[in-house]
């Protein structure tokens, strides 16, 4: 492992200043992703700036009914938080569907948002990967790509974002609070991640060294009726083969509002605006939902091994919305 220095910042400003001054520094949160990648030689920082002691570990209820989640709140704490469970069940379910109990006890909100792809080639320095080593090629494009993207990929990278939590945050219209040397700013979750395009090594729109300090959830009464469904190859401790986060607001039979987002389909959590549009204002029916999912997937381009994601996505969309509509599928 590459030797590195360890810095425990006094405050947020100190943390940001160190990152600004050190070209090869990284924030260390739970370390469940970063430390693995350091051992594998995929990430080779010179300095680790440990954010765990910064005062970012609380969940606050906001006056407008929303919630502000500190960046170092552990995934397990967030999932168990009574307000989250009551007002944003989709988030609790997404968190609990991820990883294992031990990992969730370590993993933080900020680290979860910025965890790297699980593309197997990314994690193996002996193989070509544009994201890890720009210009080296994308081994997955014509290789083992069963778990990778069907939407919005580029010839340079077909990776998916692995986070379950981020999919839930996508339907909740979460806002990410970010500190950098210029101060604080808000980044809507929808704008946080980039498409891979020609530069898959750039995963987010954040400036280098930016520190995530919190995630804000706006008040969203409809989210009380929300859920997360994850299909996976084994019953626990597996990344999604397909997943969907959904909020449904019915007026009698008519869909007053709906929000859908998918995991495992693209380089970012995939908010299904198009499907939502097909559904909003129409009487609920499973057939309509299936059509809406198909519309969302119209531009999908499956790779050699992952065509199954299309029928899977359609099927879990129907199941989840039927469930939220109180119509259990036979």
């Amino acid at each position: 492992m590459k030797p590195f220095r360890y810095h425990r910042p006094a405050d947020v400003a100190d943390a940001v200043a160190v990152l600004a001054a050190e070209p090869q520094a990284a924030y260390l949160a739970g370390g469940t992703n970063l430390v693995d990648l350091m051992k594998l030689g995929v990430q080779r920082p010179d300095v680790l700036v440990d954010v765990n002691r910064l005062p970012l570990d609380t969940v606050e209820e906001l006056p407008d009914g929303g919630l502000r989640i500190g960046a170092t709140v552990r995934n397990s704490h967030l999932a168990a938080h009574p307000t989250v469970r009551r007002d944003y069940p989709v988030l609790t379910r997404a968190l609990l569907a991820a990883a294992s109990g031990q990992l969730r006890n370590m993993a933080t909100t900020g680290g979860n948002l910025l965890q790297r792809t699980r593309c197997p080639y990314f994690q193996d320095t002996s193989k070509a990967c544009n994201k890890r080593d720009p210009g080296s090629g994308c081994a997955a494009l014509h290789g083992v790509n069963r778990d990778l993207a069907v939407l919005d990929w580029s010839e340079q990278c077909v990776a998916t974002n692995p986070s379950d939590m981020a999919v839930a945050l996508a339907v909740l219209d979460a806002v990410v609070e970010v500190h950098d040397t210029d101060g604080v700013r808000d980044v809507p979750l929808a704008d946080l991640y980039r498409s891979p395009g020609a530069h898959p090594e750039r995963e987010t729109t954040l400036a280098r060294g930016a520190l995530i300090t919190a995630v804000r959830l706006p008040a969203l009464p409809a989210a009380r009726r929300s859920t997360y469904l994850k299909a996976r190859d084994r019953a626990s401790f597996a990344f999604a083969a397909g997943s969907v986060a959904a909020v449904l607001d019915l007026d009698g039979d008519v869909i007053r509002d709906v929000r859908l987002a998918y995991g495992a389909l693209a380089h970012r959590p995939w908010r299904a605006y198009r499907a939502e549009q097909e559904l909003r204002g129409h009487p609920f029916s499973p057939e309509l939902v299936a059509r809406a999912a198909d519309a969302e997937l119209a531009e999908a381009r499956p790779l050699s091994e992952n065509g199954f994601k299309l029928p899977l996505t359609r099927s879990i969309t129907v199941r989840v919305l039927s469930g939220l509509a109180g119509r259990a599928q036979s």
Binding site: M1, K2, P3, K39, L40, G41, R118, P120, Y121, Q123, D124, T125, S126, K127, A139, H142, G143, V144, R146, A231, R232, D233, R234, A235, S236, F237, A238, F239, A241, G242, E305, N306, G307, F308, L310, P311, L312, S315, I316, V318, R319, A328, Q329, S330
Partner: protein, 696 residues
């Protein structure tokens, strides 16, 4: 022998040390002046190293040496090409360990390994097994020494004439042994003597191999393997970690600790070969088999022939007048496959027990009944009666406990909400063998006894089992006995493998106990220590060779989620006959462990191969899935009393492997019953079901 301790449930003797972390594993022995080794894997598949630049690595803080073919101590060639490491520039497969970086800390060694620059002259490679691979040939024998092909009667004629026929081809991917403790060694040379603490399944043979490799007398080598965190066959004899650690320690003239990472063990330490298996069964309309054939295709490496004995299971399991089995293998530019829990029987039973299910469907006969109808008291292979064969009893008992009678045989006949429910059955068998062992027991003046035997406890509970056996052999309460195993200084004993450890070791312990009792006055402790040491070679060699097998029947109920294709086990149940069960606590663990590993094979495991790189791309347990607890909601193992006096001194059969044999077929058969779709290439995962008629 008095019956007393044997058969009583007893927790592991070393359980407390293990759960409190005080049990020492190979890397955990404190050693003064120790250094750390880190392997460098080859980045090409086939070729030669043309240049190794160690400048940067050697300049890295803490790095002491880079050991490679240009500077490594010389090794003897006789232990075989897989262990002739760092001796020449040839690369035979990707990931081959081509250098070891030694440093003062583990992290420095790891960093040093990143900084070794190697240039290769690489050639084209062939790494993918196909059923028409031009390199397929007929090996002289299959692992370990079975005939390659067998034939009785006239298969082609028998098959052609039959009323019902099944012809199916099954495929299994590469499986990777993943013991919790990866291969690891602490090696130290002192005055030409080598001491290693090593994670292996048999220190006696590891010592012999090391002595040969380093050209020193056996007495100069000591191998300690007191606690071993699993092996599943991959540590069956000396493997690269111990050789490299000893080599590096000699090179730097300091003790070296070397552990392989999870990533590094996918391939070079051995794995189960992928297989392509064609099974043809013919029967009359009553389901009586008239012809059976099983043709297996598998791979080996360019440097060593290892042919998995895939079709051997079929030679003895069910009877038919016309029979044929064949094995063909091809050399690829891949690491050498090796033993993995029930080598041969495991993949072979998956195919045969699946084909039996297909025959049950084709004949309309219940699959339990079909197996009962084709039971045989005579081993079709050896032509001699089995010493005991209670397969039918296992099938009946299992069917009754499982509630098989309530099953509607029609596929897709059970739907509960969004789930399709199905159940499946398979038979299981594994040879029950013993090999010579020696043991020494000492009576102490204080009334205690010391049992010494170089058995290995790889997590199975072997230490505790032998302690119980010794108690009965000495006719004393077990608490009066101290037992020492896992050290090559102890009386020589065979490997913990092939389900023959307990049968072989207990034999020696019982004979030593008898010999010692002959030297003692009944029940009276001696004035000074008295010992008896025995070796069972003569007695074993005099024993007539007869067909001996452990049997089982496994039952599985799955539910298949029609909205996702996810498959989960509602329940799994196995009934076995294995002679006497020494310790029910650990026997149950062995059986359900094997069964779970079979579930893993059916639903989860598989090396994902990238031909361009000649390598698997899943190199860790995040991407190489093994079954998690949550996948198996209920699992039960039972055994029936079985007394067989023709086995060995303790009357035991092996239980280490039988649980995995047939388990994958039982799961696959249940998936078929649930969905009406037969998937013949493992693992059966949601992508093979979603969007198909299976879930419609």
């Amino acid at each position: 022998m008095s019956a007393g301790a044997i058969g009583q449930a007893h927790p592991r003797l070393e359980g407390r040390e293990k759960v409190t972390g005080t049990a020492r594993y190979a890397m955990e022995y404190p050693v003064d002046g120790v250094t750390y080794g880190w392997v460098v894997p080859a980045a090409v598949v086939r070729g030669r190293i043309t240049h190794i630049d160690t400048t940067e690595a050697l300049a890295s803080p803490g790095v002491l040496a880079v050991v490679h073919h240009g500077n490594a101590p010389r090794l003897a060639t006789t232990p075989g090409p897989n262990l002739w490491l760092l001796q020449d520039p040839a690369v035979h497969y990707r990931g081959q360990y081509v250098a070891v970086v030694v440093a003062t800390t583990l992290e420095a060694a790891r960093e040093g390994a990143q900084l070794v620059r190697i240039e290769y002259d690489a050639g084209p490679h062939t790494t993918v097994l196909t059923d028409d691979h031009p390199g397929l040939y007929k090996p002289d024998h299959v692992n370990p020494a079975y005939p390659t092909d067998t034939a009785e009667g006239d298969f082609d004629a028998g098959y052609a004439a039959a009323q019902v026929r099944v012809d199916a081809t099954y495929r299994t991917p590469a499986y990777h042994n993943n013991p919790m403790e990866p291969h690891a060694t602490t090696a130290q040379w002192t005055d030409g003597r080598l001491l290693v603490h090593d994670s292996n399944q048999g220190a006696t043979s590891v010592r012999a191999t090391l002595a040969e490799l380093f050209d020193v007398p056996r007495e100069s080598v000591r191998v300690i393997a007191e606690h071993v965190g699993g092996g599943f066959g991959s540590k069956g004899y000396a493997k690269p970690a111990v050789v490299l650690a000893a080599l590096a320690a000699r090179h730097v003239d300091r003790p070296v600790k070397l552990a392989l990472t999870r990533q590094q063990i996918f391939g070079p330490i051995g794995y189960r070969t992928p297989t392509i298996q064609r099974v043809r069964l013919a029967a009359d309309t009553d389901g009586r088999l008239t012809a059976i054939s099983h043709d297996s295709i598998s791979q080996t490496s360019q440097i060593l022939e290892y042919t998995e004995s895939v079709a051997v299971y079929t030679r003895s399991m069910y009877a038919a007048p016309h029979r044929r089995t064949t094995h063909r293998v091809t050399r690829l530019d891949v690491p050498t496959p090796f033993w993995m829990r029930a080598p041969g029987e495991c993949p072979g039973a998956y195919a045969l027990e699946s084909a039996m299910d297909e025959l049950a469907v084709a004949t309309g006969i219940d699959p339990v009944e079909l197996r009962i109808r084709n039971d045989t008291e005579i081993d079709p292979d050896q032509g001699a009666p089995f010493t005991s064969r209670n397969l039918v009893a296992c099938l009946r008992e299992g069917a009754q406990r499982f509630g098989w009678a309530d099953r509607n045989p029609t596929p897709r006949s059970r739907r509960e909400g969004r789930f399709l429910i199905g159940s499946g059955v398979a038979g299981s068998a594994y040879p029950s063998q013993s090999v010579p062992a020696s043991a020494r027991i000492t009576a102490r003046p204080d009334g205690g006894f010391l049992v010494q035997i170089n058995a290995t406890d790889i997590g199975t509970g072997a230490r505790t089992a032998l302690w119980l056996v010794a108690a009965d052999a000495l006719q004393v309460p077990p608490e009066r006995i101290e037992i020492r195993i896992g050290d090559s200084e102890l009386p020589a004993a065979p490997v913990a493998g092939a389900s023959m450890g307990t049968s072989s070791w207990s034999w020696a312990v019982i004979r030593a106990g008898e010999a010692l009792r002959g030297k003692l006055r009944d029940g009276v402790p001696p004035d000074a220590e008295v010992s008896a040491e025995v070796d069972t070679s003569a007695e074993l060699n005099a024993q007539a060779r007869k067909p001996k097998f452990t049997y089982g029947a496994q039952f599985v109920e799955v539910r298949v989620d029609t909205t996702t294709g996810e498959i989960r086990l509602n329940r799994m149940l196995g009934v076995f006959t294995a002679g006497r069960i020494v310790n029910p606590t650990t026997a149950r663990s062995q059986l359900i462990g094997g069964m779970t590993m079979g579930v893993s094979m059916a639903l989860h495991e598989g090396g994902l191969f990238d031909e361009r790189y000649g390598d698997w791309v899943n190199h860790d347990l995040g991407t190489y899935h093994i079954t998690a607890c949550a996948d198996v909601e209920s699992i039960e193992a039972y055994w029936l009393d079985e007394r067989d006096d023709e086995l060995n001194a303790a009357g035991v059969k092996g239980i280490g492997e039988v649980g995995i044999v047939g388990a994958a077929a039982a799961v696959a058969n249940a998936v078929y019953h649930a969905t009406g779709v037969r998937i013949r290439d493992l693992p059966i995962q949601l992508d093979k079901l979603i969007g198909t008629s299976a879930l419609a």
